[in-house]
Amino acid sequence: MKNIFAEFGRSFMATLFFAVILCGLYPLLVFGLAHLLFPRQANGSLLVDGSGTVRGSALIAQDFTAPGYFHPRPSAAGAYGYDAANSGGSNLGPTSQALAAQIAQRLAAYRAENGLPANAVVPADAVTASGSGLDPDISPQNAALQAPRVAKARGLPEQQVRELVRQNTRRRQWGIFGEPRVNVMTLNFALDELARHFALDPPPQK
């Protein structure tokens, strides 16, 4: 009997003692090292504009609907999508009628926006919701189909937009891992920065 009480007392002490080290000192140590070595990442890879306002994170998608921006993947996060405090996917299964209807609707919208024929085959990432609902990346094929629309809406030469897409494309990491992809957040941010520079400092007239 005495042993039983001793073991419970020991369990209680162990919980508290380990908590101090594993839940207190360990996260603080990681916090210290992270802010010493990688402060930008540890704070969320935030995108800050010229006026010092936080406009988002390079890793977290926002919704874009205007023709002058590249559009991210559809999102099922939160009630209105792209809710960065409420991540998640649609969790609709392969034989879901609701999912098939959503995809049909997104296909029609995507073809109309980008001037594609009514039976055009569309990249899968453009019409399916991502797992997190915050996927900042689209496939290079998807970006290539959107580039002419963005160039036209912004009055930029298509070549220049394609060059920006190239700069915001990431290859397979170390040539091995993952898939090639284009980051919509940094790309759209760069498009706006470009516009702002032109406004402040127009190109010299000939």
Binding site: R10, V30, Q41, N43, G44, L59, Y80, L107, G178
Partner: protein, 599 residues
């Protein structure tokens, strides 16, 4: 299935093989109370301090009953600790979002879930848990339950290796050494690496960003009391509203994710788990997380070989695990790459595969590999939504859990689960040739086989029993997100995941109801401790036996015959138990999908 992906698979396998032996030897020293490591100058004083605080005499060992009691007492007390934190969340520090307390059923479910290394989550992390709850309520069990699992595997291996011994080790010494010499050092390095890839680690409130392009959304109008307004016909009145900001999750994520993966816990910091761009920022972070997830389970087979002085046996067990792992990856990858003909008929590119619920940076292969790895081990982290997988792609994670989580498995749990199958396999082999079955010189007798069968029966009973109950009840059907056979798969997956202590989900199921939270809580508790207790009894029984020298009639526990027999036993037991349920869930759904049926 392109060459890049084959290369990545090869790199993953190579990395797993390379890490197995060195880590196995390290674990071997950690599980030996007198074992020396180069971390001793730092960790030895901490270890000694722990023994003094806990009043533990490291030289005194436990018999199996004392060991079991210490393990149960520690699990119970730490579970109550977490329950208290979750219920009192609102009054505790580090809660910048002012998140309220959890309801009793959710707090019970969550505390049990993390104590049992399941990490089933009926909640969305970022909208429910304060930083304090994440760190002290949840991450603490990521360490504890992992250490308990490894300790039990270590105790069972001692039982196999020793002869005529009454004791199987000291529980407190085992978990202390596992936490300080194995888990903590790797986690520090892993966490800092994950931050380098883009994972967050801070204590600031969620960031409010001004949207680059403000959006107009349609919301239901509310009156001055905040009540939703409806028109005369009862339809909601909608008004347009401008959405100008985005609230971005923050917090101490990296420190928690490192142990979440290494300890095969899998409980996400965020709702989207490892699909969230902060929780798994790059394909490289994904690769390293997958490696962290399987490495201890893989290395423990090396420890088994070393401890029983039969390294070939260790590698034979590894090979059996690896064979089933590879088969799972192939099926899941093939099914997802093939995609969904219903969507392809509408105009979705066939070459892209099934991308619903997957992230662009991972694509088909990394998602399929992750899904297989996380269910081989009892991890349950997900980097894509399993609910949206094709039927056969989703069958693989489901069946992986139903094998009893023995394909490398959860840390410790995988090895002790597999040893049950090993004993069953030698028992069957013994019956076939008409000899008393023996395992590494230990005679396997009626008591041992009874304990083994008890562990199997509990798993089957929990999964099928609870699924049948939920399917036949209104509370069960009310939680469904999908109709047709997929609905059955959602329920089956939930109780499979709970009993197998995996924690992944067909996450469309709304399980945060009193009925689901409670039944899943019981499912997880019995799935964990209903298996561990018979197993420790088995360890006690084995340790007392004499080792008889091998003779020509001894069935060898290494070599191809043994591997085939072991894989056959695992697959057969799983298939015999679960095939009927799988046939009316994912298998029939597969054929309906090919026919173009939707629900």
């Amino acid at each position: 299935m392109n060459p890049h992906q084959w290369l990545e698979l090869a790199v993953y396998v190579a990395a797993l093989v390379l890490v197995t032996k060195p880590l196995g030897l390290w674990i071997n020293r950690v599980l030996d109370p007198g074992g020396r490591t180069w971390l001793d100058p730092v960790m030895r004083p901490l270890e000694k301090l722990t023994y003094r605080v806990l009043r533990v005499d490291p030289a005194r060992e436990h018999d199996w009953k004392q060991y079991t009691f210490a393990m149960l007492a520690f699990s119970l007390v730490s579970c109550l600790f977490t329950y208290a934190i979750l219920r009192l969340q609102f009054y505790l520090p580090l809660n910048p979002q002012k998140l309220g307390a959890l309801a009793p059923h959710l707090a019970f479910n969550t505390a049990v879930s993390f104590t049992t290394n399941t990490n089933w989550q009926s909640y969305g992390g970022e909208a429910t848990m304060s930083y304090f709850s994440q760190m002290a309520g949840l991450a603490i069990h990521n360490f504890f339950s992992a250490a308990v699992g490894i300790a039990i595997a270590g105790a069972l291996v001692r039982g196999v290796a020793r002869q005529t011994a009454e004791t199987i080790g000291n529980f407190w010494v085992d978990i202390t050494r596992i936490m300080f010499l194995l888990l903590l050092p790797i986690c520090v390095v892993l966490a800092v690496f994950l931050v380098s890839q883009g994972m967050i680690q801070n204590f600031k409130p969620y960031t409010v960003a001004r949207l680059i392009e403000p959006q107009t959304i349609s919301v239901q109008k509310t009156d001055e009391n905040g009540k939703p307004v409806t028109d005369a016909k009862g339809n909601p009145v909608m008004v347009n509203q401008t959405l100008a900001t985005q609230t971005i999750v923050q917090g101490p994520m990296a420190s928690q994710i490192a142990i979440k993966m290494l300890g095969t816990n899998g409980g996400g910091y965020t709702n989207a788990n490892a699909a969230h761009p902060f929780e798994n920022p790059t394909p490289l972070s994904n690769f390293v997380q997958m490696l962290a997830l399987l490495c201890i389970g893989s290395a423990l087979t090396c420890h088994l070989g070393r401890e029983t002085k039969n390294q070939k046996h260790g590698w034979a067990v590894w090979t059996a695990m690896f064979t089933m792992f590879l088969a799972g990856v192939m099926v899941c990858w093939w099914a997802e790459a093939r995609g969904n003909p219903i969507h392809q008929k509408l105009g979705v590119a066939i070459a892209d595969g099934n991308m619903e619920g997957k992230e662009a940076r991972f694509g088909i292969f990394d998602s399929a590999l992750f899904a297989t790895v996380t269910t081989d081990a009892s991890c349950g982290a997900v980097n894509s939504m399993h609910d949206s997988f094709t039927p056969l792609g989703g069958l693989v994670p489901l069946f992986n859990i139903q094998t009893g989580e023995v394909i490398f498995g959860g840390v410790g749990a995988g090895l002790y689960g597999m040893l049950i199958f090993v004993i069953l396999a030698v028992f069957i082999a013994g019956l076939m040739v008409g000899r008393t079955p023996e395992y590494l010189g230990k005679k396997i007798e009626a008591y041992d086989v009874k304990m083994v069968m008890l562990a199997f029966v509990i798993l089957a009973f929990l999964i099928l029993g609870f699924t049948a109950w939920a399917c036949a009840s209104d509370w069960g059907k009310a939680g469904l997100n999908n109709a047709g056979p997929h609905g059955l798969s959602e329920i089956l997956y939930a109780y499979t995941s709970g009993a197998g202590n995996n924690g992944s989900a067909f996450a469309g199921l709304n399980a945060n109801t009193p009925w689901y939270d409670t039944t899943l809580g019981i499912d997880m508790l019995l799935g964990r401790f209903g298996m561990i207790v018979p197993l420790l009894a088995l360890a006690g029984s084995l340790s007392r036996k004499k080792i008889v020298p091998a003779s020509v009639g001894t069935f060898p526990v290494s070599g191809v015959t043994f591997v085939v027999l072991l894989v056959g036993t695992v697959v057969l037991v799983g298939a015999l138990t679960f095939l009927p349920a799988l046939a009316i869930g994912p298998i029939v759904e597969h054929f309906l999908m090919l026919q173009g049926h939707v629900f």
